[in-house]
């Protein structure tokens, strides 16, 4: 019964989404604003209906109701509760339902908290949100029903792929989707603005919190996925330039560009047309990410052709939304007033440069991901585009971007002086140079790029700190004055600075791991000793234990450094029965210097020894700490008063004429 209620709520949500969009369309048609007031309650109703539907699915997973096909295919009664719940979105149908739930949550949030928005804009935004809901709900109901029943109900489920049974991966999809789908808000605001033909600084201020929230979720979602890959896949890599990773990285790049251009629009009323375009592109990339992952087109063009129903449906959704948005843009954008002018050497100019680089990187990732598909369709030739290509293109572009990064915040709006900004950054330059020299001297045989990249990491961090010091007038004003200035900096400035520092920290981690990772593969017998990366490992024994839904063979390795025992490492191989498969669990001893990473492999034929693979990944922790700092920076920026209050400037302007008129009469 609960399952049917969930299914019914899903269909009802589709009807409500039609109402949400339809009422605004009707308003536009009859030229009367009355019907559009339905959009707000409709968005909230849609949100509740989809939460109900989602709850029904999760419930059937929790109680292991195998009469539901989706539960039967992806769950098992012996699975721990967390993985029963996360199993609900660990499959195509459930994850699409999660997608629309998050879409509806964003729509509901605008309805509930968007009281500072002009009524027309708000209902237009909700109408666009509603139309995205219509498309994806139709997709779920017609091609991917998660509530389909089986009769007779099987006795036991088939189980979830063990590789997905992991805490980090349980939260990875919801976070990633909150990011993907969150960019729909920027898209809806862009379309609404184009429909109204009016756009300005206030628009940027309304859009920014939503874009920022989406960006934060995407950042942490990608970081979580990469961390999972690092400890679970067992070969210590953390980014593979896999098409599925690229699918989430492209919206992140475009979203980052959007956040920066929205700043220009908010502060200077410039780059308006570009910001609108960027909002559309960012969401288009999110849709494309959904398509790439959901359609199976990545596995092979042929798989896609064999079962094209779902792929074609999503492709049609993309075509309608992006095509429609671009057409509307082409029609309306010329009518938008161009903003103020600025010199290339200015804060705005630096942000244009930031956008240029970020979008080029984004386009390069896009080309690299889709080129093999396109080439195969057009000429039939098969080529591979892998990590060597992406690194060759990505690294130089990113380094240029990061070298320029600290200059931007040091330049004033409108017109600045490069030399002046460089002079203000002289300490940071000194530190970066010192970092390069220190790297070169201490690790003379490292790759050429390593000292440069370490210097860039230090440069970004030191440059950002220099910016903070400059703004607080540290070292030039008396200390009480400095403290007061420091405390009075807007939260969005703190957020931006933290995010930049996070980038610098991640760069240090990425560089160190890539350049100085140590690796050893060796067969060990019990009580064998091994020296590796300054650590000593003693192989103790192999034992067995029983997990909740797996049988585990684990080795015990005693780890010590300079005679001081550190910890016992217990890498394991898990044998799952449903579905029958094996996973390998790495053992990691983490420290600030780096991770000691140990994986146990095959036992020798005679059982006397096991193959052990050891890695030392220096500073690898900094990669995820950097991402976490970016997330925190975003969160602090989100609490900025100006974003919460909405558009004080607009209210002030609109109240003035009445006051004056009163005075005059």
């Amino acid at each position: 019964m609960i399952v049917e209620i969930g299914h019914f709520a899903l269909i009802l949500a589709f009807a409500v989404a039609c109402l949400q969009t339809g009422c605004v369309a009707w308003s536009l048609w009859i030229g009367n604003d009355e019907p559009r007031s339905i959009a707000t309650p409709a968005a909230i109703a849609q949100c509740f209906l989809l939460l109900l539907s989602f709850w029904a699915l999760v419930h059937s997973y929790v109680v292991s109701d195998f009469s539901v096909q989706n539960v039967w295919t992806n769950s098992h009664s012996a699975k721990p509760l967390l993985y029963k719940i996360s199993g609900a979105w660990g499959n195509h149908e459930g994850s699409m339902l999660l997608w629309v739930v998050i879409l509806a949550l964003f729509g509901g949030a605008v309805s509930a908290f968007g009281n500072n928005l002009p009524a027309r804009l708000k209902s237009n935004v909700l109408a666009v949100q509603g139309s995205i809901g219509i498309a994806f709900l139709a997709f779920i109901i017609l091609t991917s029903n998660p509530f389909a029943r089986l009769s007779p109900a099987p006795f036991e489920g088939q189980g979830l792929n063990p590789i997905l049974q992991d805490p980090a991966l349980s939260f990875h999809p919801p976070l990633l989707y909150a990011g993907y789908v969150g960019f729909s808000m920027a898209f809806s605001f862009a379309i609404a603005a184009l429909l109204e033909g009016r756009i300005g600084a206030a628009w940027a201020r309304w859009v920014r919190p939503w874009t920022l929230a989406a960006w934060m979720f995407l950042t942490i979602g990608i970081a979580l996925g990469s961390w999972w890959a690092y400890y679970e896949l067992g070969w210590g890599g953390w980014w593979f330039w896999d098409p599925v990773e690229n699918a989430s990285f492209m919206p992140w790049l475009a979203g980052t560009a959007l956040l920066h251009s929205a700043v220009v629009m908010e502060k200077r009323d410039a780059l308006k047309v570009w910001t609108i375009l960027l909002a559309i592109i960012t969401f288009a990339l999110s849709l494309m990410g959904t398509f790439l992952v959901r359609s199976g087109v990545l596995t092979s063009v042929h798989t896609f052709a064999v079962d094209p129903e779902r792929g074609i449906f999503i492709l049609a959704i993309i075509a309608i939304f992006t095509g429609g948005a671009f057409a509307l843009f082409a029609w309306r954008a010329p009518q938008l007033r161009q903003g103020t002018m600025f010199s290339p050497i200015s804060r705005e100019g630096s942000l244009v440069f930031n956008n240029l680089l970020l979008m080029t990187i984004c386009a390069a990732v896009l080309v690299g991901t889709l080129y093999p598909l396109a080439l195969e369709v057009v000429t039939g030739d098969k080529i591979s585009v892998g990590p060597p290509y992406f690194n060759a293109v990505f690294i130089p572009l990113v380094l240029i971007l990061l070298v320029m990064l600290p200059f931007g915040p040091m330049l004033p709006w409108k017109r600045g002086h490069a030399v002046e900004a460089a002079w203000r950054l002289r300490v940071a330059q000194g530190l970066a140079l010192a970092a390069a020299i220190a790297t070169f001297v201490s690790k003379p045989d490292s790759p050429l790029l390593a000292p440069l990249a370490m210097a860039v990491g230090v440069w970004v961090i030191a440059g950002t700190l220099a910016e903070t010091a400059f703004r607080a007038k540290a070292f030039t004003a008396p200390w009480p004055e400095v403290m007061r200035r420091f405390a009075n900096l807007p939260r969005s400035s703190y957020g931006g600075m933290l995010a930049h520092i996070g980038v610098g920290i991640a760069v240090l981690g990425i560089t160190a791991t890539s350049a100085w990772r140590a690796e050893q593969i060796v067969a060990m017998k019990p009580s064998d000793r091994l020296q590796f990366a300054g650590y000593e490992v003693v192989f103790d024994k192999v034992s067995e234990r029983q997990g909740p839904n797996y049988q585990e063979t684990f080795g015990t390795f005693k780890l010590s450094k300079q005679g001081e025992p550190l910890s016992d490492l217990t890498p394991a191989k898990r044998q799952y029965t449903a579905p029958p498969s094996t996973t390998s669990e790495a053992a990691i001893h983490a420290s600030w210097a780096g991770d000691f990473y140990l994986v146990m492999g095959e036992a020798a034929k005679d059982g006397s020894s096991v193959v052990v693979r050891l890695y030392f990944n220096p500073l690898v922790r900094l990669i995820w700490i950097g991402a976490l700092i970016m997330f925190v920076g975003g969160a602090i920026s989100l609490t900025d008063r100006r974003l919460r209050i909405g558009a004080p400037a607009r209210r002030a302007v609109s109240s003035q004429p009445t006051a004056r008129a009163g005075q005059a009469s």
């Binding site: 989707y177 896999d242 599925v244 390069a364 080129y371 060796v522 193959v611 004056r660």
Partner: protein
């Protein structure tokens, strides 16, 4: 969802088959005695695709085919081939599909040049925008003087000032 996960599941199916228990790619018995040569073998391996896997290099893959390829790479190195010779050898047998870094050829002009074109094109557009700014410097509109204001108030109130 599950970026890698879906692929990994597939990869596992393709490369291992259910129930198999291997985790690593390079096995101790493959490693060459000469560390420099081994390092070179690893570098080459990272450039070659495991043909039966999803987006994995032979250095990362534990499929039997990947192992064979790793052994071939090491044999060629021991026979005295340099990096380009080894890669030529492998491409001659398995085709260009095996290269994770596609060579610059008629087929891939667009792939390699697209980032450059985009950077140049975007840079040119930005330049145009700045240039337009130079030709037509906009000034901040000066606020109305007190006279003008009272005139405006008059107009708004319906009386000619």
């Amino acid at each position: 969802m599950k970026r890698l996960a879906g692929l990994c599941a597939l990869m596992l199916l393709l490369c291992l088959g259910f129930g198999s228990a291997t985790v690593f790619a390079v096995q101790p018995d493959e490693v060459l005695a000469d560390p420099r040569m081994e390092q070179k073998a690893r570098e080459i391996s990272a450039e070659l695709r495991c043909l039966v896997c999803q987006n994995q290099s032979i250095d990362d893959s534990d499929a039997p085919l990947a192992r064979d390829l790793r052994l071939i790479v090491r044999e060629r190195l021991k026979a005295g081939d340099d990096q380009s010779k080894v890669i030529e050898f492998v491409v001659a047998r398995y085709g260009e599909f095996i290269l994770l870094r596609p060579p610059f050829s008629a087929k891939t002009y667009l792939l390699w040049l697209a980032p450059l074109f985009l950077l140049a094109g975007g840079g040119y557009l930005a330049y145009r925008v700045f240039h337009r700014g130079d030709r037509k410097p906009t000034s901040i509109p000066t606020p109305l003087s007190e006279d003008e204001r009272s005139q405006l108030r008059g107009i708004l109130d319906g009386k000619q000032g």
